[in-house]
């Protein structure tokens, strides 16, 4: 497999008072060059922790306790602090949940762009500044040359998010971790920003790990989808397949809301019950207490990921050896 990013059996633990809580367990997925992987799941499912681990930005009390992360075939989770830093922003960039607070309020936009490029690319300050102006034009900011002198507070939320995108793309990364890049924005601006992100990735062949709560966004832009539940991947596969024939009961519950595009999360999780938190893990399949199709084995044993078509599904119903619920 010539994947750009490979995450294998990732496990992230969080040191709590006496014990170590498992936030992420046995998470595996890959992203091919230029591919958009959508990541969905309820709040607390572990989407952000996964993205943070890929960026190598986990901070105490969270630590990677197992698994491997490979970028371009090279292991990156064992890189030195400095080695990983050189990769961040250059090869793997990020766009975070709240773009409004992502920029340093005391520094001009032009300086923040230039500083990022000068850190990673062999160029002079003058070249960096010229490139910064071009980048602002590319992300659709009017009067880009004048805006280089602007401070973040002088721009609207949508404009700031465009600047954040310019910062993410400024060193031509091959992968972008976008953690709910539009959640904090006005609904009217969300579509614009998403279009911009998609267009820029297409033009440059940048791969994206796109975390979102919005199933409509997934249907529109993701090539493949990973559905996370309680720190695990419940199902991962091509978007079309998951929308048409989701194999996991949890995915089916999520997909039920797609026709009414762009609904918020509260309406989205119509499945009764709540997801188990890391401090109160559930034996067997984490979804079984809420699953309409659960049977004895689900409470006893955790299902591994079974291949179903081009997807992988962590559900006993997808077990090739499964022959109906025993009476």
């Amino acid at each position: 497999m010539n994947a750009l990013l490979q995450v294998e059996n990732l496990r992230v633990e969080i040191a709590a008072r006496k014990r170590r809580l498992v936030a992420i367990d046995d998470v595996s997925f890959e992203i091919a060059a230029g591919e958009v992987l959508g990541v969905v799941g309820e709040s607390g499912a572990g989407k952000s922790v996964t993205g943070t681990a890929v960026l190598g930005l986990l901070e105490a009390p969270a630590v990677q306790a197992g698994g491997r992360i490979l970028f371009d075939g090279r292991r990156i989770d064992t890189l030195s602090e400095e080695g990983m830093r050189a990769l961040r922003g250059k090869e793997i960039a990020a766009v975070f949940q709240d773009p409004l607070t992502s920029l340093d309020p005391l520094m001009t936009i032009g300086d923040q762009l230039t500083e990022t490029m000068l850190t990673h690319l062999p160029m002079t300050r003058a070249e960096g500044e010229a490139r910064a102006g071009e980048l602002l034009a590319e992300v659709g900011i009017p009067a880009p040359r004048e805006r280089l002198q602007a401070y973040p507070h002088e721009l609207s939320g949508g404009m700031r998010q465009r600047v954040v995108l310019a910062l993410a793309f400024c060193c031509a990364p091959r992968l972008i971790i976008a953690d709910e890049p539009t959640t904090a924005l006005d609904v009217s601006i969300q579509a614009q920003i998403l279009d911009l992100l998609r267009r820029m990735c297409r033009e440059r062949g940048t791969a994206v790990m796109l975390v979102t709560h919005d199933m409509g966004v997934i249907a529109e832009v993701a090539d493949r989808v990973a559905v996370m539940y309680a720190g695990r991947v419940a199902e991962i596969g091509p978007t079309r397949q998951l929308i048409a024939h989701a194999a996991h009961p949890y995915t089916r519950g999520l997909m039920a809301s797609i026709p009414s595009m762009r609904r918020r999360e509260k309406e989205l999780t119509q499945i009764p019950g709540a997801m188990p938190r890391p401090d109160a893990p559930v034996a067997g399949c984490a979804f079984h207490p809420r699953c309409p199709q659960a049977f004895a084995r689900c409470a006893a044993e955790r299902p591994p990921a079974f291949p179903v078509g081009a997807a992988r599904v962590a559900c006993w119903l997808a077990d090739p050896a499964f022959e109906g619920v025993p009476a």
């Binding site: 607070t101 340093d104 002088e154």
Partner: protein, 327 residues
């Protein structure tokens, strides 16, 4: 600009209020006539003095006259010393200003770097030790510190004088101890004594602010941009930390100036503090009124300086310039 004008207006208002308090003190605490002519004077004499002093005029007129005199630096004659208040204060003012200035320079110059360092090396033993020591610095009474320093460095080692200003040099109306060796030596113990609490306070504040800033989204995003730790810590985090620190330093400078009394007493420092103690003991109302106005003026000047620092550092205070807003 409008921000500064607004602040200037506030300053004038504060000064007016302080002047009014001083005026009320002057006018209504004790009987000024009694104080001037003595108990033995006849009723007619008293009336004459009263009229001569303008104490029969309406209060507004009296207050206006008080302000007018104050603007010319005229606060009348001290009861206790029989000299013009302005001359008495002018003589003592340099000693107190130099003492509080040096102690704040020490406290800020050490406190900010130590606070930043302990924030960046949170886990280290030295950082824990410094924190514990700073708690002691906050808790120890100033006079105890002063006496301990005198016992060690004056009585014990005989390195530094335990009282007075040493030799001073007159520069115009200003007497300074900063230009002679004995003047500088005399400054060491009192300014350290006065600065210990401030040092501990500023260090703890700088540390707390730095930790707070290091948790913000824009620092997280700066890490995701792959900036070098040095750039993140100093170019981004420290600058954002400095704003609240500057406010506290300004405030504390005012406090140090106004409450240097204890240290001046311990070290027999010929500053305003000693003068004021005597003024209080002898109900020397003109002197107290003049001192009050001076303190208010000092706070006002410091506040303006803090505001100017904000304008220099924080673009949000400067307000949107021609760049304007756009979506």
């Amino acid at each position: 600009m409008s921000f500064l004008l607004g602040r200037l207006g506030q300053t004038v208002l504060v000064l007016l209020v302080a002047s009014f308090v001083a005026f009320a003190l002057f006018r209504y605490v004790g009987d000024p006539v009694n104080n001037m002519v003595g108990q033995a004077a006849s009723m007619a004499d008293r009336e004459a003095v009263r009229r001569a002093l303008g104490l029969d005029d309406p209060m507004v007129v009296q207050f206006a006259r008080f302000i007018g005199n104050a603007l010319r630096g005229d606060f009348g004659i001290s009861y206790r010393f029989g000299q013009p208040v302005a001359a008495l204060i002018g003589e003592r003012f340099p000693a107190t200003l130099e003492l509080s200035l040096i102690s704040m320079v020490i406290a800020t110059g050490l406190g900010v770097p130590l606070g930043v360092w302990t924030a960046l090396h949170r886990g280290s033993v030295l950082s824990q030790v410094l924190l514990a020591v700073s708690l002691v610095g906050v808790a120890l009474p100033t006079f105890l510190i002063g006496i301990a320093l005198i016992l060690i460095f004056s009585v014990g080692l005989g390195w530094l004088p335990s009282f007075g200003r040493g030799e001073v040099v007159a520069l115009g109306g200003w007497t300074t101890g900063l230009l002679t060796v004995s003047g500088l030596k005399a400054l060491v113990l009192p300014s350290v004594t006065l600065g210990v609490f401030q040092l501990a306070l500023i260090m703890r504040l700088a540390r707390a602010e730095m930790l707070e800033v290091m948790r913000t989204d824009f620092i997280r995003f700066a890490k995701a941009r792959g900036l070098k730790p040095r750039a993140i810590e100093y170019r981004h985090a420290l600058r954002n930390t400095l704003l609240p620190v500057i406010t506290i330093v300004g405030l504390q400078f005012g406090n140090v100036f106004a409450f240097s009394i204890i240290v001046e007493t311990v070290f027999q420092w010929p500053g305003l503090g000693l003068l004021v103690i005597q003024a209080i003991q002898f109900a020397d109302v003109p002197l107290l009124a003049g001192y009050l106005v001076l303190i208010a003026l000092c706070f006002a000047v410091i506040n303006l300086a803090v505001d100017l620092a904000y304008v220099a550092i924080d673009p949000r205070v400067r307000g949107s310039r021609a760049a304007g807003r756009a979506t």
